[in-house]
């Protein structure tokens, strides 16, 4: 390369991996993925609308990473975009999401990790 990279990301070594990748690292990632696919298939939003919303989360995380911060993971970005889009579409609301999370949290640790 003959020029200084414009972003620290450009200088970072690219991890080269073999064919076998873990699709989902944790069960909630698979669930968040499936929710969006099912709702798109059901016509709650178009795939283009999803990609536009998700791209904004990705861009925000990319900016955090470029600035040397710790960005959200890929499926954390996915989940944040899902919440944003479903609130925008009027399917749910921030208040409803928060109330439900607190109810689940109060019920105790339900997702015991088995390792």
């Amino acid at each position: 390369m003959d020029a200084t990279p414009a972003s620290p990301l450009l200088a970072k070594a690219l991890p080269v991996t073999v064919d076998a990748d873990v699709t989902f690292a944790e069960p909630w990632e698979a669930k968040a993925f499936a929710i969006i696919v099912k709702l798109a298939q059901a016509g709650c939003f178009t795939w283009g609308e999803w990609v536009e919303c998700f791209s904004q989360e990705v861009a925000a995380a990319t900016a955090v990473e470029a600035a040397g911060g710790r960005p959200k993971t890929y499926y954390e970005q996915w989940l944040s975009a899902a919440e944003t889009l479903l609130v925008d579409k009027g399917v749910t609301s921030r208040e409803q999401l928060l109330a439900r999370r607190l109810a689940i949290g109060a019920a105790g640790p339900m997702h015991v990790m088995k390792t």
């Binding site: 390369m1 990279p5 414009a6 972003s7 990301l9 450009l10 070594a13 690219l14 991890p15 080269v16 991996t17 064919d19 990748d21 699709t23 944790e26 069960p27 909630w28 698979a30 669930k31 968040a32 993925f33 499936a34 929710i35 696919v37 099912k38 709702l39 798109a40 298939q41 059901a42 709650c44 795939w47 283009g48 999803w50 990609v51 536009e52 998700f54 791209s55 990705v58 990319t62 990473e65 890929y74 499926y75 954390e76 989940l79 919440e83 479903l86 399917v91 749910t92 999401l97 928060l98 439900r100 999370r101 607190l102 109810a103 689940i104 949290g105 109060a106 997702h111 990790m113 390792t115």
Partner: protein, 199 residues
């Protein structure tokens, strides 16, 4: 597995997903069992073996290859591979003069029905940036050295258009069957970061 950086309960993604799932289930928008079935499909049934069958057919059947290059969505559907992120497919052919590379610069658009879900590096910020700014450097990191005379074309996948690379058929494969040829077609060769395997 302790997570010291984890904040209060409402920021735990597992709890956030459960909250979302509960609300959507109550509204009748999703069925938890259907979610599990869908995950199983993408974890074990859809993957790059689908795309490999398409490529191997194109290598042995010139008429199919013609259909694939002129209307990829329809030609791929002949195998029954269609659905979300498989609409509006474009197949780009590698030749001795042109090497194609696929990326999604904005997020991670990818042809799911033919390749399954994308690998981690495809979704990473360095790949999304460098596939455009330094494609030859990226290819080298995957062990793909191309002569300077070969033109490298990078294709940016979007929500509307998804690309699949038709790699060159490796030399010395004249006697191989279609099924044997499919074994040489890797996921990475259909993204364009590598060539098909040698026999």
């Amino acid at each position: 597995m302790p997570k010291p950086h984890q904040g209060p309960a409402e920021s735990d993604p597992a709890i956030r997903v459960r909250a979302l799932e509960a609300i959507l289930t109550e509204k009748g928008l999703i069925d938890p069992k259907a979610l599990d079935a869908l995950v199983d499909t993408y974890e074990s049934k859809v993957g790059p073996r689908n795309g490999a069958k398409v490529v191997a057919r194109a290598w042995v059947d010139p008429a199919y290859k013609q259909r694939l290059l002129s209307d990829a969505t329809a030609a791929i559907k002949e195998f029954g591979f269609s659905g979300l992120q498989g609409e509006d497919m474009v197949v780009v052919e590698n030749t001795p003069d042109v090497h194609n590379l696929v990326v999604c610069t904005l997020c991670s658009c990818y042809p799911w029905p033919t390749l399954g879900l994308p690998p981690v590096w495809y979704k990473s910020a360095p790949y999304r940036a460098r596939a455009v700014s330094d494609p030859r450097g990226v290819l080298k990191e995957f062990g793909t050295e191309l002569p300077e005379t070969v033109e490298v074309r990078t294709w940016d996948t979007t929500a509307e258009l998804r690309y699949l690379v038709l790699p060159e058929r490796p030399p010395g494969t004249d006697d191989m069957t279609e099924d044997q040829l499919a074994e040489l077609v890797t996921r990475d060769s259909m993204i364009g970061v590598t060539k098909a395997k040698a026999p």
